[in-house]
Protein backbone atom coordinates (compact mmCIF):
# COMPACT_ATOMS: atom_id res chain seq x y z
CA UNK A 1 0.00 0.00 0.00
CA UNK A 2 1.33 3.41 -0.93
CA UNK A 3 1.40 5.98 1.85
CA UNK A 4 0.48 9.58 1.39
CA UNK A 5 3.29 12.11 1.89
CA UNK A 6 1.97 13.43 5.16
CA UNK A 7 2.08 9.94 6.64
CA UNK A 8 5.70 10.39 7.65
CA UNK A 9 5.25 13.09 10.27
CA UNK A 10 2.14 11.39 11.57
CA UNK A 11 3.92 8.09 11.93
CA UNK A 12 6.89 9.78 13.50
CA UNK A 13 4.64 11.31 16.12
CA UNK A 14 3.00 7.97 16.70
CA UNK A 15 6.34 6.28 17.11
CA UNK A 16 7.43 8.98 19.49
CA UNK A 17 4.43 8.41 21.62
CA UNK A 18 5.02 4.69 21.67
CA UNK A 19 8.60 5.01 22.74
CA UNK A 20 7.76 7.62 25.33
CA UNK A 21 5.49 5.17 27.07
CA UNK A 22 8.07 2.46 26.65
CA UNK A 23 10.84 4.51 28.20
CA UNK A 24 8.56 5.67 30.96
CA UNK A 25 7.66 2.07 31.68
CA UNK A 26 11.22 0.81 31.50
CA UNK A 27 12.87 3.37 33.69
CA UNK A 28 10.12 5.20 35.42
CA UNK A 29 13.02 7.45 36.21
CA UNK A 30 11.36 10.79 35.75
CA UNK A 31 8.36 12.44 37.15
CA UNK A 32 6.03 14.64 35.17
CA UNK A 33 7.87 17.81 36.18
CA UNK A 34 11.06 16.59 34.58
CA UNK A 35 9.52 15.93 31.20
CA UNK A 36 10.82 19.03 29.47
CA UNK A 37 14.44 18.94 30.40
CA UNK A 38 17.15 18.89 27.70
CA UNK A 39 18.01 15.26 28.28
CA UNK A 40 14.55 14.24 27.30
CA UNK A 41 14.70 16.46 24.25
CA UNK A 42 17.93 14.79 23.19
CA UNK A 43 16.38 11.38 23.56
CA UNK A 44 13.25 12.38 21.69
CA UNK A 45 15.26 13.96 18.91
CA UNK A 46 17.28 10.82 18.50
CA UNK A 47 14.17 8.73 18.43
CA UNK A 48 12.46 10.95 15.90
CA UNK A 49 15.52 10.75 13.67
CA UNK A 50 15.69 6.96 13.89
CA UNK A 51 11.99 6.57 13.27
CA UNK A 52 12.00 8.90 10.29
CA UNK A 53 14.87 6.95 8.78
CA UNK A 54 12.88 3.81 9.39
CA UNK A 55 9.79 5.20 7.71
CA UNK A 56 11.78 6.29 4.69
CA UNK A 57 13.57 2.98 4.52
CA UNK A 58 10.43 0.90 4.90
CA UNK A 59 8.73 2.67 2.02
CA UNK A 60 11.66 1.79 -0.23
CA UNK A 61 12.46 -1.78 0.61
CA UNK A 62 10.80 -4.69 -1.11
CA UNK A 63 13.16 -7.61 -0.43
CA UNK A 64 13.30 -9.87 2.62
CA UNK A 65 16.77 -8.53 3.39
CA UNK A 66 15.43 -4.99 3.42
CA UNK A 67 12.65 -5.96 5.79
CA UNK A 68 15.24 -7.46 8.09
CA UNK A 69 17.24 -4.25 7.94
CA UNK A 70 14.21 -2.20 9.00
CA UNK A 71 13.59 -4.52 11.94
CA UNK A 72 17.27 -4.44 12.88
CA UNK A 73 17.34 -0.65 12.69
CA UNK A 74 14.32 -0.46 14.94
CA UNK A 75 15.94 -2.81 17.45
CA UNK A 76 19.21 -0.92 17.29
CA UNK A 77 17.50 2.41 17.91
CA UNK A 78 15.72 0.94 20.92
CA UNK A 79 19.05 -0.22 22.33
CA UNK A 80 20.75 3.11 21.74
CA UNK A 81 17.83 4.86 23.37
CA UNK A 82 18.04 2.56 26.34
CA UNK A 83 21.75 3.23 26.73
CA UNK A 84 21.21 6.96 26.43
CA UNK A 85 18.36 7.04 28.89
CA UNK A 86 20.24 5.05 31.49
CA UNK A 87 23.29 7.27 31.16
CA UNK A 88 21.53 10.63 30.96
CA UNK A 89 19.23 9.91 33.86
CA UNK A 90 21.79 8.07 35.98
CA UNK A 91 19.47 5.14 36.45
CA UNK A 92 21.01 2.93 39.15
CA UNK A 93 22.76 -0.04 37.61
CA UNK A 94 20.99 -2.42 39.94
CA UNK A 95 17.69 -1.25 38.53
CA UNK A 96 18.48 -1.14 34.84
CA UNK A 97 21.98 -1.73 33.51
CA UNK A 98 23.01 -0.11 30.22
CA UNK A 99 23.20 -2.44 27.20
CA UNK A 100 26.92 -1.88 27.00
CA UNK A 101 27.35 -3.46 30.42
CA UNK A 102 25.16 -6.37 29.38
CA UNK A 103 27.29 -6.90 26.29
CA UNK A 104 30.45 -6.75 28.38
CA UNK A 105 29.12 -9.30 30.83
CA UNK A 106 27.95 -11.48 27.99
CA UNK A 107 31.41 -11.58 26.49
CA UNK A 108 33.21 -12.01 29.80
CA UNK A 109 31.02 -14.81 31.12
CA UNK A 110 30.33 -16.63 27.88
CA UNK A 111 31.54 -19.92 29.34
CA UNK A 112 29.11 -19.82 32.26
CA UNK A 113 26.28 -18.77 29.99
CA UNK A 114 27.02 -21.61 27.63
CA UNK A 115 26.82 -24.15 30.46
CA UNK A 116 23.53 -22.57 31.56
CA UNK A 117 22.27 -22.71 28.01
CA UNK A 118 23.11 -26.39 27.74
CA UNK A 119 21.43 -27.16 31.07
CA UNK A 120 18.24 -25.20 30.54
CA UNK A 121 17.66 -25.12 26.83
CA UNK A 122 19.33 -28.20 25.43
CA UNK A 123 18.42 -30.48 28.31
CA UNK A 124 15.30 -29.15 30.03
CA UNK A 125 13.47 -27.25 27.37
CA UNK A 126 14.37 -29.40 24.39
CA UNK A 127 13.62 -32.71 26.08
CA UNK A 128 10.33 -31.40 27.38
CA UNK A 129 9.46 -29.88 24.02
CA UNK A 130 10.11 -33.09 22.13
CA UNK A 131 8.30 -35.29 24.64
CA UNK A 132 5.40 -32.88 25.13
CA UNK A 133 4.79 -32.10 21.47
CA UNK A 134 5.33 -35.73 20.50
CA UNK A 135 2.88 -37.00 23.09
CA UNK A 136 0.35 -34.33 22.17
CA UNK A 137 0.63 -35.37 18.55
CA UNK A 138 -0.01 -39.02 19.32
CA UNK A 139 -2.90 -38.21 21.63
CA UNK A 140 -4.30 -35.95 18.91
CA UNK A 141 -4.36 -38.94 16.58
CA UNK A 142 -6.26 -40.92 19.19
CA UNK A 143 -8.64 -38.07 19.87
CA UNK A 144 -9.18 -37.70 16.16
CA UNK A 145 -9.88 -41.40 15.82
CA UNK A 146 -12.31 -41.68 18.69
CA UNK A 147 -14.73 -38.80 18.79
CA UNK A 148 -15.75 -39.88 22.28
CA UNK A 149 -12.30 -38.88 23.46
CA UNK A 150 -12.52 -35.63 21.60
CA UNK A 151 -15.70 -34.64 23.31
CA UNK A 152 -14.46 -35.86 26.68
CA UNK A 153 -10.87 -34.70 26.65
CA UNK A 154 -10.86 -31.39 24.83
CA UNK A 155 -13.11 -29.46 27.25
CA UNK A 156 -10.90 -30.70 30.04
CA UNK A 157 -7.93 -29.63 27.99
CA UNK A 158 -9.04 -26.02 28.18
CA UNK A 159 -9.31 -26.42 31.90
CA UNK A 160 -5.92 -28.04 32.33
CA UNK A 161 -4.21 -25.61 29.99
CA UNK A 162 -5.12 -22.90 32.48
CA UNK A 163 -3.07 -24.49 35.27
CA UNK A 164 -0.41 -21.88 35.86
CA UNK A 165 3.15 -23.19 35.88
CA UNK A 166 3.96 -21.39 39.08
CA UNK A 167 1.63 -23.83 40.75
CA UNK A 168 2.69 -26.93 38.92
CA UNK A 169 6.43 -26.30 38.95
CA UNK A 170 6.95 -26.81 42.70
CA UNK A 171 4.95 -30.01 42.52
CA UNK A 172 6.93 -31.33 39.61
CA UNK A 173 10.24 -30.39 41.20
CA UNK A 174 9.13 -32.34 44.24
CA UNK A 175 8.29 -35.32 42.04
CA UNK A 176 11.13 -35.35 39.57
CA UNK A 177 14.00 -33.88 41.54
CA UNK A 178 16.25 -30.91 41.02
CA UNK A 179 17.82 -31.94 37.72
CA UNK A 180 16.70 -31.10 34.21
CA UNK A 181 14.10 -33.87 34.35
CA UNK A 182 11.71 -31.84 36.45
CA UNK A 183 12.18 -28.87 34.08
CA UNK A 184 11.37 -31.13 31.17
CA UNK A 185 8.26 -32.29 33.03
CA UNK A 186 7.12 -28.70 33.52
CA UNK A 187 7.70 -28.03 29.83
CA UNK A 188 5.75 -31.15 28.87
CA UNK A 189 2.81 -29.94 30.89
CA UNK A 190 3.03 -26.48 29.36
CA UNK A 191 3.26 -27.46 25.71
CA UNK A 192 0.98 -30.48 25.74
CA UNK A 193 -2.40 -28.83 25.47
CA UNK A 194 -1.58 -26.02 23.06
CA UNK A 195 -0.04 -28.61 20.77
CA UNK A 196 -2.94 -31.01 21.22
CA UNK A 197 -5.55 -28.39 20.49
CA UNK A 198 -3.72 -27.18 17.40
CA UNK A 199 -3.15 -30.66 16.04
CA UNK A 200 -6.73 -31.72 16.60
CA UNK A 201 -7.98 -28.55 14.94
CA UNK A 202 -5.59 -29.19 12.06
CA UNK A 203 -6.69 -32.78 11.59
CA UNK A 204 -10.26 -31.53 11.39
CA UNK A 205 -9.39 -28.80 8.91
CA UNK A 206 -10.38 -30.60 5.78
CA UNK A 207 -13.29 -29.79 3.56
CA UNK A 208 -16.22 -32.09 3.18
CA UNK A 209 -15.25 -32.51 -0.44
CA UNK A 210 -11.69 -33.53 0.36
CA UNK A 211 -12.97 -36.17 2.75
CA UNK A 212 -15.70 -37.35 0.41
CA UNK A 213 -13.18 -37.84 -2.34
CA UNK A 214 -11.36 -40.40 -0.25
CA UNK A 215 -14.65 -41.99 0.74
CA UNK A 216 -15.49 -42.58 -2.90
CA UNK A 217 -12.17 -44.42 -3.08
CA UNK A 218 -13.19 -46.51 -0.09
CA UNK A 219 -9.98 -45.38 1.65
CA UNK A 220 -9.16 -46.68 5.13
CA UNK A 221 -8.71 -44.46 8.18
CA UNK A 222 -4.94 -44.80 7.88
CA UNK A 223 -4.97 -43.86 4.24
CA UNK A 224 -7.18 -40.89 4.98
CA UNK A 225 -4.80 -39.87 7.71
CA UNK A 226 -1.63 -40.05 5.70
CA UNK A 227 -2.91 -38.70 2.42
CA UNK A 228 -5.32 -36.06 3.66
CA UNK A 229 -5.53 -35.18 7.31
CA UNK A 230 -1.86 -34.99 8.13
CA UNK A 231 -0.88 -32.83 5.17
CA UNK A 232 -3.88 -30.61 5.79
CA UNK A 233 -2.98 -30.35 9.47
CA UNK A 234 0.59 -29.22 8.79
CA UNK A 235 -0.06 -25.46 9.03
CA UNK A 236 -1.80 -25.96 12.36
CA UNK A 237 0.86 -28.31 13.63
CA UNK A 238 3.53 -25.78 12.83
CA UNK A 239 1.52 -23.06 14.45
CA UNK A 240 1.45 -25.19 17.59
CA UNK A 241 5.15 -25.95 17.32
CA UNK A 242 5.91 -22.23 17.05
CA UNK A 243 3.80 -21.26 20.03
CA UNK A 244 5.35 -24.07 22.02
CA UNK A 245 8.94 -22.96 21.41
CA UNK A 246 8.49 -19.87 23.56
CA UNK A 247 6.38 -21.73 26.10
CA UNK A 248 9.05 -24.39 26.48
CA UNK A 249 11.69 -21.77 27.04
CA UNK A 250 9.71 -19.94 29.67
CA UNK A 251 8.69 -23.16 31.40
CA UNK A 252 12.22 -24.46 31.69
CA UNK A 253 13.54 -21.19 33.07
CA UNK A 254 10.79 -20.58 35.56
CA UNK A 255 10.88 -24.14 36.87
CA UNK A 256 14.45 -23.53 37.96
CA UNK A 257 13.20 -20.98 40.46
CA UNK A 258 11.69 -23.79 42.44
CA UNK A 259 14.85 -25.79 42.84
CA UNK A 260 17.76 -26.56 40.55
CA UNK A 261 21.37 -27.60 40.48
CA UNK A 262 23.75 -24.66 40.58
CA UNK A 263 23.51 -23.87 36.93
CA UNK A 264 20.89 -23.07 34.37
CA UNK A 265 19.47 -19.80 33.05
CA UNK A 266 16.71 -19.59 35.63
CA UNK A 267 19.16 -20.29 38.43
CA UNK A 268 21.51 -17.69 36.99
CA UNK A 269 18.87 -15.02 36.71
CA UNK A 270 17.62 -15.58 40.24
CA UNK A 271 21.06 -15.83 41.83
CA UNK A 272 22.41 -12.86 39.93
CA UNK A 273 19.54 -10.67 41.06
CA UNK A 274 20.39 -11.67 44.62
CA UNK A 275 24.00 -10.70 43.96
CA UNK A 276 22.92 -7.46 42.29
CA UNK A 277 24.81 -8.58 39.20
CA UNK A 278 22.27 -7.10 36.79
CA UNK A 279 24.64 -7.35 33.86
CA UNK A 280 24.53 -11.11 34.27
CA UNK A 281 20.75 -11.09 34.69
CA UNK A 282 20.27 -9.35 31.39
CA UNK A 283 22.97 -11.39 29.68
CA UNK A 284 21.01 -14.50 30.67
CA UNK A 285 17.85 -12.93 29.33
CA UNK A 286 19.64 -12.20 26.09
CA UNK A 287 20.67 -15.85 25.87
CA UNK A 288 17.08 -16.91 26.44
CA UNK A 289 15.73 -14.44 23.89
CA UNK A 290 18.34 -15.46 21.33
CA UNK A 291 17.56 -19.13 21.86
CA UNK A 292 13.83 -18.45 21.68
CA UNK A 293 14.05 -16.32 18.57
CA UNK A 294 16.35 -18.82 16.89
CA UNK A 295 14.07 -21.77 17.58
CA UNK A 296 11.03 -19.79 16.54
CA UNK A 297 12.82 -18.77 13.37
CA UNK A 298 13.86 -22.34 12.74
CA UNK A 299 10.33 -23.58 13.20
CA UNK A 300 9.08 -20.85 10.85
CA UNK A 301 11.68 -21.84 8.29
CA UNK A 302 10.79 -25.51 8.39
CA UNK A 303 7.16 -24.49 8.20
CA UNK A 304 7.85 -22.48 5.08
CA UNK A 305 9.49 -25.47 3.46
CA UNK A 306 6.90 -28.01 4.53
CA UNK A 307 3.76 -26.00 3.91
CA UNK A 308 4.89 -24.17 0.78
CA UNK A 309 1.53 -25.05 -0.72
CA UNK A 310 -0.53 -23.14 1.83
CA UNK A 311 -1.93 -19.80 0.66
CA UNK A 312 -0.33 -18.01 3.60
CA UNK A 313 3.11 -19.10 2.40
CA UNK A 314 2.74 -18.22 -1.25
Amino acid sequence: MRLSPYATPVLAALGLLAVLTLVALLTGAFSIGAVWDPRLLAILALWAAAWTLNVVLSLRVRSAGGALAVAALFGASLIVLWELTVRLYDVPQVILPPPSLVAETFAARAGTLWADFVQTILKGALAGYVIGCGAAFLVALLVDRFSFLRRGLLPLGNFMAALPIVGTAPILVMWYGFGWQSKAAVVVLMVFFPMLVNTVAGLADTTQMQRDLLRTYGASWRQTLTTLRLPAAMPFIFNGLKICTTLALIGAIVAEFFGSPTLGLGFRISTSIGQLDLGMVWASIVVAALAGTATYGLAALVERRMTFWHPSQR
Partner: protein, 310 residues
Protein backbone atom coordinates in the same frame (compact mmCIF):
# COMPACT_ATOMS: atom_id res chain seq x y z
CA UNK B 1 1.78 17.08 63.63
CA UNK B 2 3.66 16.14 60.48
CA UNK B 3 4.52 12.43 60.35
CA UNK B 4 7.72 11.27 58.71
CA UNK B 5 7.20 8.51 56.22
CA UNK B 6 9.45 5.48 56.45
CA UNK B 7 9.29 2.40 54.25
CA UNK B 8 10.78 -0.81 55.58
CA UNK B 9 11.50 -3.70 53.22
CA UNK B 10 11.59 -7.09 54.94
CA UNK B 11 13.78 -9.92 53.81
CA UNK B 12 11.06 -12.50 53.68
CA UNK B 13 7.32 -13.02 54.09
CA UNK B 14 5.32 -11.80 57.04
CA UNK B 15 6.23 -14.06 59.97
CA UNK B 16 7.44 -13.87 63.55
CA UNK B 17 11.00 -13.45 62.28
CA UNK B 18 9.97 -9.78 61.89
CA UNK B 19 7.67 -9.61 64.90
CA UNK B 20 9.39 -6.57 66.43
CA UNK B 21 8.50 -4.32 63.53
CA UNK B 22 4.89 -5.43 63.35
CA UNK B 23 4.50 -5.04 67.11
CA UNK B 24 5.92 -1.52 66.95
CA UNK B 25 3.50 -0.72 64.18
CA UNK B 26 0.51 -2.30 65.86
CA UNK B 27 1.21 -0.88 69.31
CA UNK B 28 1.71 2.59 67.92
CA UNK B 29 5.38 2.91 68.89
CA UNK B 30 6.22 4.30 65.50
CA UNK B 31 3.40 6.75 65.72
CA UNK B 32 4.63 7.91 69.09
CA UNK B 33 7.95 8.66 67.43
CA UNK B 34 6.17 10.66 64.75
CA UNK B 35 6.74 8.02 62.09
CA UNK B 36 4.37 6.74 59.46
CA UNK B 37 5.86 3.35 58.71
CA UNK B 38 5.01 1.12 55.75
CA UNK B 39 6.21 -2.45 56.01
CA UNK B 40 6.74 -4.22 52.71
CA UNK B 41 6.85 -7.97 53.13
CA UNK B 42 9.47 -9.75 51.07
CA UNK B 43 9.21 -12.94 49.14
CA UNK B 44 11.13 -15.18 46.81
CA UNK B 45 13.44 -13.22 44.54
CA UNK B 46 12.69 -9.88 46.06
CA UNK B 47 16.15 -8.58 46.88
CA UNK B 48 15.90 -5.94 49.61
CA UNK B 49 19.23 -4.55 48.44
CA UNK B 50 17.77 -3.95 45.00
CA UNK B 51 14.67 -2.37 46.45
CA UNK B 52 16.63 0.16 48.49
CA UNK B 53 18.96 0.88 45.59
CA UNK B 54 16.00 1.77 43.44
CA UNK B 55 14.61 3.98 46.16
CA UNK B 56 11.66 1.71 46.90
CA UNK B 57 12.51 1.60 50.63
CA UNK B 58 14.32 3.76 53.18
CA UNK B 59 15.58 0.94 55.31
CA UNK B 60 15.81 -2.80 54.83
CA UNK B 61 16.18 -5.95 56.85
CA UNK B 62 19.08 -7.88 55.35
CA UNK B 63 21.73 -10.41 56.27
CA UNK B 64 25.18 -8.96 56.67
CA UNK B 65 26.93 -11.17 54.08
CA UNK B 66 24.55 -10.00 51.36
CA UNK B 67 24.84 -6.41 52.50
CA UNK B 68 28.64 -6.49 52.52
CA UNK B 69 28.74 -8.20 49.14
CA UNK B 70 26.45 -5.54 47.75
CA UNK B 71 28.66 -2.87 49.29
CA UNK B 72 31.70 -4.32 47.60
CA UNK B 73 29.77 -4.37 44.33
CA UNK B 74 29.22 -0.64 44.58
CA UNK B 75 26.01 -0.35 46.54
CA UNK B 76 27.04 1.50 49.71
CA UNK B 77 24.86 -0.01 52.41
CA UNK B 78 25.48 0.78 56.04
CA UNK B 79 24.33 -1.21 59.06
CA UNK B 80 22.56 1.14 61.44
CA UNK B 81 21.26 -1.41 63.91
CA UNK B 82 21.48 -5.12 64.65
CA UNK B 83 18.45 -6.47 66.54
CA UNK B 84 19.55 -10.06 65.99
CA UNK B 85 22.50 -10.82 68.19
CA UNK B 86 22.92 -14.46 67.27
CA UNK B 87 22.64 -16.49 64.10
CA UNK B 88 19.80 -18.92 63.59
CA UNK B 89 21.19 -20.61 60.55
CA UNK B 90 22.03 -24.29 60.49
CA UNK B 91 22.50 -27.26 58.24
CA UNK B 92 20.08 -30.05 59.03
CA UNK B 93 21.01 -33.59 57.95
CA UNK B 94 19.57 -37.05 58.20
CA UNK B 95 21.41 -38.99 60.87
CA UNK B 96 20.91 -42.36 59.23
CA UNK B 97 23.03 -41.55 56.18
CA UNK B 98 26.11 -41.46 58.36
CA UNK B 99 26.81 -37.77 58.84
CA UNK B 100 28.18 -36.98 62.27
CA UNK B 101 30.63 -34.17 61.80
CA UNK B 102 31.34 -31.59 59.09
CA UNK B 103 34.07 -33.85 57.68
CA UNK B 104 31.37 -36.33 56.69
CA UNK B 105 29.83 -33.81 54.31
CA UNK B 106 32.20 -34.86 51.47
CA UNK B 107 30.37 -36.23 48.47
CA UNK B 108 26.99 -35.40 49.93
CA UNK B 109 24.15 -33.58 48.27
CA UNK B 110 23.32 -30.41 50.15
CA UNK B 111 20.42 -28.04 49.77
CA UNK B 112 21.39 -24.39 49.95
CA UNK B 113 19.45 -21.14 49.69
CA UNK B 114 20.75 -18.87 46.99
CA UNK B 115 19.71 -15.38 46.13
CA UNK B 116 22.34 -13.80 48.35
CA UNK B 117 21.78 -16.29 51.17
CA UNK B 118 24.45 -18.63 49.92
CA UNK B 119 27.36 -16.57 51.25
CA UNK B 120 27.50 -18.05 54.78
CA UNK B 121 27.43 -21.55 53.36
CA UNK B 122 30.11 -20.85 50.79
CA UNK B 123 32.34 -19.31 53.46
CA UNK B 124 31.89 -22.30 55.68
CA UNK B 125 32.71 -24.78 52.93
CA UNK B 126 35.64 -22.64 52.00
CA UNK B 127 36.85 -22.77 55.60
CA UNK B 128 36.46 -26.54 55.61
CA UNK B 129 38.28 -26.77 52.29
CA UNK B 130 35.42 -28.52 50.58
CA UNK B 131 34.78 -27.69 46.95
CA UNK B 132 31.18 -27.07 45.97
CA UNK B 133 31.13 -28.06 42.34
CA UNK B 134 30.04 -31.63 42.95
CA UNK B 135 32.41 -32.81 40.27
CA UNK B 136 35.63 -33.80 42.00
CA UNK B 137 36.12 -36.33 44.77
CA UNK B 138 35.83 -34.65 48.14
CA UNK B 139 33.42 -31.99 47.06
CA UNK B 140 29.75 -31.56 47.81
CA UNK B 141 26.94 -31.38 45.32
CA UNK B 142 24.92 -28.27 45.91
CA UNK B 143 21.26 -27.92 45.04
CA UNK B 144 19.46 -24.65 44.87
CA UNK B 145 16.91 -25.39 47.53
CA UNK B 146 13.43 -24.04 46.95
CA UNK B 147 11.37 -22.49 49.66
CA UNK B 148 10.60 -25.56 51.70
CA UNK B 149 12.01 -28.62 53.40
CA UNK B 150 10.81 -31.12 50.81
CA UNK B 151 14.30 -31.92 49.50
CA UNK B 152 15.18 -33.34 52.89
CA UNK B 153 11.88 -35.13 53.47
CA UNK B 154 11.97 -36.60 49.97
CA UNK B 155 15.61 -37.49 50.54
CA UNK B 156 16.65 -35.67 47.43
CA UNK B 157 19.31 -34.06 49.60
CA UNK B 158 21.20 -35.41 52.60
CA UNK B 159 21.18 -32.05 54.30
CA UNK B 160 19.39 -28.77 53.81
CA UNK B 161 19.70 -25.27 55.18
CA UNK B 162 17.24 -24.48 57.92
CA UNK B 163 16.64 -21.68 60.41
CA UNK B 164 16.34 -22.68 64.04
CA UNK B 165 13.09 -20.79 64.23
CA UNK B 166 11.43 -21.96 61.09
CA UNK B 167 12.36 -24.72 58.68
CA UNK B 168 13.75 -26.95 61.39
CA UNK B 169 10.32 -27.08 62.96
CA UNK B 170 8.70 -27.81 59.67
CA UNK B 171 10.85 -30.92 59.46
CA UNK B 172 9.76 -31.86 62.94
CA UNK B 173 6.13 -31.11 62.08
CA UNK B 174 6.39 -33.47 59.16
CA UNK B 175 6.75 -36.27 61.68
CA UNK B 176 10.51 -36.55 61.86
CA UNK B 177 11.89 -37.02 65.37
CA UNK B 178 14.76 -34.78 66.49
CA UNK B 179 16.82 -37.92 67.08
CA UNK B 180 16.75 -38.75 63.39
CA UNK B 181 18.41 -35.43 62.58
CA UNK B 182 21.87 -33.98 62.92
CA UNK B 183 22.17 -30.17 63.08
CA UNK B 184 25.22 -28.07 62.36
CA UNK B 185 24.66 -24.59 63.77
CA UNK B 186 26.80 -22.00 62.02
CA UNK B 187 27.29 -20.49 65.47
CA UNK B 188 28.86 -23.64 66.80
CA UNK B 189 30.98 -24.15 63.71
CA UNK B 190 32.52 -20.74 64.31
CA UNK B 191 31.28 -19.37 61.01
CA UNK B 192 28.26 -17.49 62.24
CA UNK B 193 27.41 -14.37 60.28
CA UNK B 194 25.08 -11.64 61.41
CA UNK B 195 21.50 -11.89 60.22
CA UNK B 196 18.57 -9.54 60.07
CA UNK B 197 20.26 -6.17 60.55
CA UNK B 198 18.84 -2.83 59.50
CA UNK B 199 20.61 -1.21 56.55
CA UNK B 200 20.31 2.16 54.85
CA UNK B 201 22.05 3.91 51.99
CA UNK B 202 25.28 5.60 53.06
CA UNK B 203 24.55 8.90 51.34
CA UNK B 204 21.35 9.34 53.32
CA UNK B 205 23.28 9.31 56.58
CA UNK B 206 24.86 12.63 55.68
CA UNK B 207 21.45 14.16 56.32
CA UNK B 208 21.02 14.72 60.09
CA UNK B 209 17.27 14.69 59.69
CA UNK B 210 17.41 11.21 58.23
CA UNK B 211 19.67 10.05 61.05
CA UNK B 212 17.17 11.40 63.50
CA UNK B 213 14.35 9.67 61.70
CA UNK B 214 16.24 6.39 61.80
CA UNK B 215 17.08 6.85 65.45
CA UNK B 216 13.40 7.16 66.20
CA UNK B 217 12.69 4.20 63.94
CA UNK B 218 15.26 1.99 65.64
CA UNK B 219 14.11 3.07 69.07
CA UNK B 220 10.52 2.17 68.31
CA UNK B 221 11.54 -1.07 66.62
CA UNK B 222 13.62 -2.17 69.58
CA UNK B 223 10.72 -1.37 71.83
CA UNK B 224 8.68 -3.61 69.64
CA UNK B 225 11.24 -6.37 69.85
CA UNK B 226 11.45 -6.25 73.60
CA UNK B 227 7.69 -6.31 73.88
CA UNK B 228 7.57 -9.27 71.51
CA UNK B 229 10.18 -11.13 73.52
CA UNK B 230 8.09 -10.69 76.61
CA UNK B 231 4.70 -11.38 75.02
CA UNK B 232 5.46 -14.02 72.42
CA UNK B 233 1.88 -15.21 72.02
CA UNK B 234 0.40 -11.76 71.54
CA UNK B 235 3.26 -10.86 69.19
CA UNK B 236 2.55 -13.95 67.13
CA UNK B 237 -1.09 -12.98 66.90
CA UNK B 238 -0.15 -9.50 65.70
CA UNK B 239 2.01 -11.06 63.00
CA UNK B 240 -0.84 -13.31 62.06
CA UNK B 241 -3.11 -10.32 61.66
CA UNK B 242 -0.68 -8.64 59.30
CA UNK B 243 -0.22 -11.74 57.15
CA UNK B 244 -2.39 -11.05 54.14
CA UNK B 245 -1.91 -14.49 52.64
CA UNK B 246 -3.63 -16.18 55.56
CA UNK B 247 -1.04 -18.92 55.30
CA UNK B 248 0.58 -18.68 58.73
CA UNK B 249 -0.70 -20.73 61.61
CA UNK B 250 -0.90 -19.76 65.25
CA UNK B 251 1.02 -22.69 66.53
CA UNK B 252 3.91 -22.25 64.16
CA UNK B 253 4.16 -18.48 64.70
CA UNK B 254 4.11 -18.73 68.48
CA UNK B 255 6.84 -21.28 68.38
CA UNK B 256 8.79 -19.20 65.88
CA UNK B 257 8.47 -16.18 68.16
CA UNK B 258 9.91 -18.19 70.99
CA UNK B 259 12.89 -19.24 68.92
CA UNK B 260 13.46 -15.77 67.47
CA UNK B 261 13.40 -14.31 70.96
CA UNK B 262 16.46 -16.42 71.74
CA UNK B 263 18.31 -14.69 68.91
CA UNK B 264 17.28 -11.14 69.73
CA UNK B 265 17.79 -11.62 73.43
CA UNK B 266 20.37 -9.30 74.85
CA UNK B 267 20.51 -7.00 71.85
CA UNK B 268 19.70 -3.36 72.45
CA UNK B 269 19.94 -2.78 68.75
CA UNK B 270 23.52 -1.67 68.60
CA UNK B 271 25.96 -3.69 66.58
CA UNK B 272 28.41 -5.86 68.47
CA UNK B 273 31.72 -5.06 66.76
CA UNK B 274 33.19 -8.38 67.72
CA UNK B 275 30.38 -10.21 65.99
CA UNK B 276 30.83 -7.85 63.05
CA UNK B 277 34.52 -8.66 62.84
CA UNK B 278 33.79 -12.38 63.04
CA UNK B 279 31.35 -12.03 60.18
CA UNK B 280 33.86 -10.11 58.09
CA UNK B 281 36.62 -12.61 58.84
CA UNK B 282 34.40 -15.49 57.89
CA UNK B 283 33.46 -13.87 54.61
CA UNK B 284 37.07 -12.90 53.84
CA UNK B 285 38.52 -16.14 55.01
CA UNK B 286 38.81 -19.60 53.68
CA UNK B 287 40.03 -20.74 50.35
CA UNK B 288 39.95 -19.60 46.84
CA UNK B 289 36.72 -17.73 46.38
CA UNK B 290 35.97 -15.42 49.31
CA UNK B 291 32.66 -13.62 49.38
CA UNK B 292 34.33 -10.26 49.87
CA UNK B 293 37.90 -9.55 48.97
CA UNK B 294 38.77 -6.58 51.17
CA UNK B 295 38.03 -5.43 54.67
CA UNK B 296 35.01 -3.18 54.31
CA UNK B 297 35.22 0.40 55.52
CA UNK B 298 32.35 2.31 57.03
CA UNK B 299 29.95 -0.60 56.63
CA UNK B 300 28.32 0.15 59.94
CA UNK B 301 27.66 3.09 62.17
CA UNK B 302 26.76 3.47 65.83
CA UNK B 303 25.46 6.93 65.19
CA UNK B 304 21.86 5.86 64.90
CA UNK B 305 21.75 3.47 67.82
CA UNK B 306 23.62 5.96 69.98
CA UNK B 307 21.05 8.58 69.15
CA UNK B 308 18.25 6.09 69.70
CA UNK B 309 19.40 5.27 73.18
CA UNK B 310 19.37 8.89 74.30
Amino acid sequence: QEMDEVTLQLKWVTQAQFAGYYVALENGYYEEEGLDVTILPGGPDIAPTQVIAGGGADVIVEWMPAALAARENGLPLVNIAQPFAASGMQLTCWGDVGIESPEDLDNRTLGVWFFGNEYPFLSWMSTLGIATDGAAEGSVEVLKQGFNVDPLLQRQADCISTMTYNEYWQVIDAGVTPEELVNFRYDEQGVATLEDGLYVMEENLEDPEFVDEMARFVRASMRGWKWAEENPEEAAMIVLDYDETGAQTEEHQIRMMGEVAKLTAGSDGSLDEEAYQRTVDTLLGGGSDPVITAEPEGAFTHEVTDAAQN
